[in-house]
Every structure is written in structure tokens, then in C-alpha cells.
């Protein structure tokens, strides 16, 4: 479908050829993996990681090129813009690509670790990896799309993959949650297609670079209808308040890496689309006040929902809904500082929210539950886990000097600069939300990590390491039905030779026995080995994301510079339009 086109002028000629790679590479890898099937597990894992690493490198190169030489453009098949498919990487798109590819790479490493530890029963390699790569391709495509219909196709790529990932394994709970998610997404996609048709009917084109001049020529009322139609669609995707009810119900049931990448990326794709349409297609603050009111409601309702939750994953889902309000607030302000703050906040929030969901997955793995009422004493059980939770939690709540604070500060300052009554109201609402986030997360911290361990925690709190069958002929039947008493997820035959020598039977000595020890017991005709240490690659990937989140704090100055330039570029509109339409 896509082939290399003419590159832009000057030293950036090579960069133009890089533009389609973030879409093509994962798609090709997904096809390759589907062809390979369930064989060559090591090679497949290597391919996935290598492809995502390549996407990350390409995204970084694109960011540098877009920042130095302006938007990078690729014409598919060499067709000129009004007809052909255009992929555009300006500063905003390239920055989003860098963040998303870093996050997806980390989540892939985490899921590989989980798959290795679970022996790939819970998330089969032959299903998970291709879907995941298609998801990555879809996300990249939405960021790079140069016309509304390609944006729709990118959304569909992403959503179709996400339906598969959401219902992976086909358990009852996931089917139930997936039904809600799929129906809402399907409806929003159809409305999106209708909105694209309306735009085409009104303006005669769907190329984003051509639309500004055509839309400016339309009567205000028609433009307003188009704007509201597109905004409504993207608000569903971005889970902005009145259209967010689907999110907390569907995300928590999916596997941890899936929830993490959904929470981090999918909603931000909606925000990206809102940013793009509000700045490029419908500039001016015709609807800014409405966005600000929605942002305020989103902030407050979301965080009040989070305060009421007793399950960690649901709590995080509600904070996700709440914090979408910050980004919508920045977009609603419409000023360069507001847009810049929103972009910074998107970058920060993708990383932090993904990290927190990964940590929730680690907690589930360590203890078998994320229900706050039955958690306790984790700080003593697993200090590493405590640190991994505490840092991003404080980052999300916005404790200085972390990037959550800087992002909120940027947005609130933009609100104060705006000076309107509504802006001041949102500044107050944003502050209250930040404090309530701190309250909700501190409550979770106190209950899960700080208080003494609950009685049942002594019995749980082990991670399945390997499982060997005593008698192969009887073990096969048991493996399917018997859940390990540890609360770990994946039954399956472990590789031979990893059988550590350890005492038999369940420990009776309480916490001290469970700390850093392997225990082997016989259950259902199988030898099950459990350990209390977390799989290294899962903890490593989470730690890498925590550090990535902290890097935003250290590099906040240059990053704010970049987002400021991106905001200027977006609000000026002409760099984007000229880069696409010139040739």
C-alpha cells in the first residue's frame, strides 16, 4: 500500500523515507509472526523486541528531523496530496511517536517476562504478539495520518487489535468487559466515519493540509457542526467525562500489560486527535469554553470515582478518566502555553499511567489480587515493589519536583495567564483534583504497602516459577483445570532442569519464611515451584519506565522547549500546510 516517495528538500531527505516505517515495520512483523505461528518462540520474541526498538530509533530520528527541518512528509505511491495518502511527522506527531514507542517497547519486555514466567498459557505468543504489533502500527498510523480517512483507518487498526487483546483468553469476565468496550468503540468508529463523510460532503476533501482553507471558507454554523461531530467521536476515544463511563468497566479485566498500554496510549490517541483537529482544522476558541467545562467535570467526577474505589486497577482507571481533564483543559485554553502544557502532560501521563498499571500487574502477580481490602504489608514483603509503586504514584499526584507537578504547573500557569473566570475555576478544580489524587493514591499506599499484612497475605504472596509433572500421563488433565494455590495465573508444563532443591510442603513460619525463598510442593500430581522474587524482566521493564518518567523531570526544560515549539507550529498552521501542499 505504501512505498517510499519523494523526500523533502535539504539534509532531511533521508528522514522523509523514515516516516512510514513506524507503521510498516510492526505490520510486517505481525504478518511474519502470524506466518510463523507458535513455533520458534525465542526468535519471535527477539523479532518483536527488535522491531519495536527499531521503531523507537526511527521515531527519535523523526523527532530530531521534525524539530530541525520542519514537518517530514511522505506521499504514498508518489501521489500528490489531495488524492494520495499522506503521512506527516511534525513535532507533535514525532514526540507522540517517541513516547508511544518507548512505552510499547517496555510493555513488550514486561509481557515477554510475564509470558516466560507463565509458560505462555495465559497470553499465547501466537495471538498476543501479532495483535500487539498491529496495535502499535495503528497507534503510529493515527499519529502520522495526514488525512481524516487515514486517521479513521489508523483508529480501526488500533481498535481491532485492542478488541483481540482485551478479550484474550476468552474468559467470561473478559468477554463481558470486552463486549462493553467493543460496542462503544464500534459506535464511535461509525460516528467517526459519518463525521468524515460530513466533512467530505462539506469541504470536498479529507486531506488535513487542504482542509483549513476549505473549512475557513465554510459558514460558521456548518463548520461548528463538523467540529462537534469530530470532537464527540474523539471524546469517546479519549474518555472525556460524559463519554467515559465505558473505561473503568472494561480496562481492569484485561491482562496487566494490555491494560497498561491501553491506559497509556489509547486514550491519548483520542487526545492527540482532538489536539490536531482543534488546532489545525478548527482554530479559534469557538468551543473552548465547552471544552473547559467538560474538562472540569472530567477532573472532578473522575477523581471522586477514584476515591470511592477499593480495587487498585479500578482506582487507577478512574484517575485516568480524571486526568484526561488536564489535557482537555490545556486544549480548551487554546493559547500557546495551554497547548504546550497539554502536550507535555500527555507525554508525562502516558508514561506514568502505564507504569502504574504495570506495577498493579506486579502486585497481582506477587499477591494474587489487586483488591485493596485484602492487600497489606507489601512494603515489608517486597520493598522493590513499594519503590516502583511509590515513585510513579507521587509523580501522578503531582508532588514537586516530579514531572506531574511540572506538567500541572504549566497548565495552571497557562490558566492564570488566560485570566477568565472559567480558567480560574479550572485552576481551582485542577488543584483540588491533584490533592484528591494524592489522597486516593496515599490511601492505596497506606492500605496495600504500609499497614501490617492481612492474615491471608501470609498464605499468598508467592509467584509461580515452574511446574513439573510427576507422572506425565495424569498431569495433562490436571494442568488445565487446577488453579495453583498461589494465585498465579498460568498453568503449564515448565522446562525441565529448573527444579530447585527446596523443602516440601507449605511454609508455616509466616512472612520470614516466604521472603526470598523457593518452595516446592505437590499439587494435583504435579510439582509446583514457587518463589517470592518477581520475574526480572517484568520488574526491569517497570523500573525502566519509572526511570523514563523521572527523566521527564530531569529533562523538563528541554522538553517544555520542544512542546512550546510544537504548540507554536500547531497554532501557526502554515508549517504543516506548506510542508504537505508545497510539493
Amino acid at each position: 500500500m505504501v512505498s517510499g516517495g519523494a523526500g523533502p528538500v535539504g539534509g532531511a531527505a533521508a528522514a522523509g523515507l523514515l516516516v512510514p516505517l513506524p507503521v510498516i515495520l510492526p505490520l510486517c512483523a505481525a504478518g511474519l509472526k502470524l506466518a510463523i505461528g507458535a513455533r520458534l518462540e525465542r526468535v519471535q520474541r527477539f523479532i518483536s523486541a527488535a522491531v519495536l526498538l527499531a521503531v523507537l530509533v526511527v521515531s527519535l530520528l523523526l523527532l530530531v528531523a521534525a524539530d530541525r527541518h520542519g514537518p517530514q512528509v511522505m506521499f504514498a505511491g508518489g501521489w500528490a496530496p489531495p488524492v494520495g495518502i499522506v503521512l506527516v511527522a511534525d513535532r507533535l506527531a514525532a514526540l507522540m511517536l517517541v513516547i508511544s514507542s518507548s512505552v510499547t517497547l517496555a510493555v513488550l519486555v514486561y509481557s515477554v517476562g510475564q509470558g516466560l514466567a507463565d509458560n505462555d498459557e495465559a497470553t499465547p505468543l501466537s495471538v498476543f504478539h501479532p495483535s500487539y504489533l498491529v496495535l502499535v502500527a495503528g497507534v503510529s498510523d493515527t499519529f502520522l495520518a495526514g488525512d481524516l480517512f487515514n486517521l479513521y483507518v489508523g483508529f480501526e487498526l488500533m481498535l481491532t487489535a485492542s478488541y483481540v487483546l482485551m478479550t484474550i483468553g476468552g474468559t467470561l469476565a473478559r468477554i463481558r468487559a470486552g463486549a462493553t468496550y467493543a460496542i462503544v468503540s464500534l459506535l464511535s468508529s461509525m460516528l467517526f466515519l459519518a463525521a468524515v463523510a460530513m466533512v467530505y460532503a462539506a469541504a470536498g476533501t479529507v486531506t488535513m493540509a487542504q482542509l483549513p482553507s476549505r473549512l475557513d471558507a465554510l459558514p460558521d454554523s456548518v463548520a461548528m457542526v463538523l467540529q462537534i461531530a469530530l470532537l464527540g467521536v474523539f471524546a469517546i476515544k479519549a474518555a472525556v467525562f460524559p463519554l467515559a463511563a465505558w473505561l473503568p468497566d472494561s480496562y481492569p479485566t484485561a491482562p496487566a500489560p494490555v491494560t497498561a498500554v491501553f491506559a497509556g496510549l489509547l486514550t491519548k490517541v483520542g487526545i492527540y486527535a482532538i489536539l490536531r483537529t482543534q488546532t489545525l482544522l478548527f482554530p479559534g476558541d469557538g468551543i473552548g469554553d465547552v471544552l473547559m467545562v467538560l474538562a472540569l467535570l472530567s477532573l472532578l467526577v473522575g477523581i471522586l470515582g477514584a476515591v470511592a474505589q477499593t480495587d487498585l486497577k479500578r482506582l487507577l482507571s478512574f484517575t485516568l478518566v480524571s486526568h484526561m481533564g488536564y489535557m482537555v483543559f490545556g486544549i480548551g485554553l487554546g493559547s500557546p502555553a495551554g497547548i504546550s502544557g497539554a502536550v507535555f502532560y500527555v507525554a508525562h501521563h502516558i508514561t506514568v499511567q502505564t507504569t502504574l498499571f504495570l506495577v498493579a500487574g506486579l502486585i497481582e502477580r506477587r499477591t494474587g489480587t489487586t483488591d485493596l481490602q485484602s492487600l497489606g504489608g507489601l512494603a515489608r514483603l517486597s520493598p522493590l515493589l513499594a519503590v516502583l509503586f511509590f515513585v510513579p504514584a507521587m509523580n501522578l499526584a503531582g508532588i514537586p519536583p516530579l514531572s506531574g507537578f511540572l506538567g500541572k504547573l504549566g497548565l495552571l500557569r497557562a490558566g492564570v495567564d488566560d485570566g477568565g473566570a472559567l480558567a480560574y475555576l479550572l485552576v481551582a478544580g485542577g488543584t483540588v483534583t491533584s490533592l484528591l489524587t494524592l489522597y486516593a493514591l496515599t490511601k492505596a499506599w497506606n492500605v496495600a504497602f504500609w499497614r501490617a499484612a492481612t492474615p491471608e497475605m501470609c498464605a499468598a504472596g508467592t509467584v509461580l516459577e515452574s511446574r513439573e509433572e510427576d507422572t506425565p500421563e495424569e498431569g495433562a488433565g490436571d494442568a488445565a483445570g487446577s488453579g495453583a494455590p498461589t494465585g498465579s495465573t498460568g498453568p503449564g508444563a515448565g522446562p525441565p532442569g529448573r527444579h530447585p532443591a527446596a523443602a516440601g510442603g507449605w511454609p508455616t513460619g509466616g512472612l520470614s519464611v516466604l521472603m526470598r525463598r523457593r518452595v516446592t510442593t505437590t499439587f494435583g500430581g504435579q510439582e509446583i515451584t514457587t518463589t517470592s522474587s518477581l520475574p526480572a524482566s517484568m520488574a526491569g521493564a517497570t523500573a525502566a519506565l519509572v526511570l523514563f518518567g523521572l527523566a521527564f523531570t530531569v529533562l523538563a526544560g528541554p522538553l517544555f522547549g520542544l512542546t512550546g515549539r510544537a504548540a507554536d507550529e500547531m497554532l501557526a498552521r502554515s508549517p504543516y500546510v506548506e510542508a504537505v501542499m508545497q510539493k
Partner: protein
């Protein structure tokens, strides 16, 4: 706008309306059918955007682009049809899987909705219990108050009794002291009388113990 376009728009609108009605149902299969109808309705609307009908958009010698219909919406529709087909297949599979699990394919209520409903019933129950409790407590308080009053009366009576008793005891003490003093005086008087008797009575002196 030609009659063809009006037919397309009208048909699309009807499909959209029917699809919306189906989408509001519980069973997933109905929702799938609704999605199919809406998808087709939107495809017709997209087709209507290509304007009046014209020649097929094929470039071969002798065709003029002026008489062609706009091919771009048709390309959109082809893509959309493929996507809708894939999603329909997926949703149908999901409905089948839900049926395998639980014997129906109804889409359940939102967890948060269920929680709120439960909380509402819980709140009603709590209100009822609280009202009953208030009533009981008022009764108890009234009872306790009468109890208290009775106690207070008893106490004051007891106190009054106490003062009377104290007065009585004081009087008795005084009386006893008086009596003791009287007896002492009497005894002393008797002693002295004895002495006097002893000294004065000659018979005593004479008879002594034999008296």
C-alpha cells in the same frame, strides 16, 4: 440533488434508525445486527457525498473526467466495508463465546452502575434501620428519663430521710450523752450518798454488812 441521492440518504437514514433501535437491546447478537445496519447506513450516506450519478470512474480512452462520479467516497466505502466485516465477525464470535460461557449473550450492566444501584438500596435499608433505631432510642431516652426522675426522687427522699435520720441520731447522741452524764452524776451522787450514808448512819456503823 438528484433523486438517486435522495434515495440513498433516505435509505441510509432508515438503516441508521433501525440499527440504533437494535443497538439499544441487550443481546449481543442484536447489537451486532444493529452495528451492521448502522454501518451499511453510513456507507450509503458516504456514497451520497459523491454527488450526482455519472459514469464509472475508469480511465480509458474516450472517457471524460467531467462525466464521472466522484470515486473517492467509493474507495472510502470499500475500506469501511472491510472493516465492518471484520468487526462483525469478531462481535459474532464474542457473542458465541458469551453464550458458551453462560447460556446467553446479554451485555451486562456496568459494574459501577450495579454498585450505585446496590448502594441506593443499601441507603434505603440504612434509612429504614436508622429511623427504627431513632424511634427506639427516643423510647429508651424517655424511659431512661422517667427512670432518672424516679431515681432523683428517691435520692431526694433518701436525702430527706438522711437529714431526718441524722437529726434523729444527733438527738439520740445528745440524749445518750445526757443520759450518760446523768447516770454518772447519779452514780457520783450515790457514791457520795453512800459515803454520807456511811458516815452519817449510825446503824451502818453499828451493823455494817449485817444491815
Amino acid at each position: 440533488m438528484t433523486t438517486g441521492s435522495i434515495a440513498l440518504v433516505g435509505c441510509g437514514g432508515v438503516l441508521f434508525a433501525c440499527g440504533t433501535a437494535l443497538l439499544l437491546a441487550r443481546p449481543l447478537t442484536r447489537i451486532v445486527l444493529g452495528a451492521v445496519l448502522i454501518g451499511n447506513g453510513i456507507n450509503l450516506l458516504v456514497l451520497a457525498t459523491s454527488g450526482p450519478d455519472g459514469d464509472a470512474a475508469l480511465l480509458y480512452p474516450g472517457t471524460s473526467p467531467r462525466t464521472m462520479s466522484d470515486p473517492l467516497p467509493q474507495a472510502f466505502i470499500l475500506t469501511a466495508i472491510v472493516i465492518t466485516l471484520a468487526l462483525t465477525a469478531f462481535l459474532a464470535t464474542m457473542a458465541y463465546r458469551a453464550w458458551q460461557h453462560s447460556g446467553n449473550d446479554d451485555v451486562p450492566d456496568d459494574t459501577e452502575d450495579i454498585r450505585i444501584v446496590r448502594r441506593a438500596t443499601y441507603a434505603e435499608e440504612r434509612e429504614r434501620l436508622r429511623a427504627a433505631y431513632h424511634k427506639r432510642r427516643l423510647e429508651y431516652r424517655a424511659l431512661a428519663r422517667s427512670e432518672e426522675e424516679r431515681e432523683a426522687r428517691e435520692r431526694s427522699a433518701y436525702e430527706r430521710l438522711g437529714t431526718a435520720r441524722d437529726r434523729y441520731r444527733q438527738l439520740r447522741r445528745r440524749a445518750r450523752a445526757d443520759a450518760r452524764a446523768f447516770r454518772v452524776r447519779q452514780a457520783r451522787a450515790e457514791e457520795t450518798a453512800d459515803e454520807i450514808v456511811g458516815e452519817d448512819d449510825p446503824w451502818q456503823t453499828i451493823l455494817g454488812a449485817d444491815r
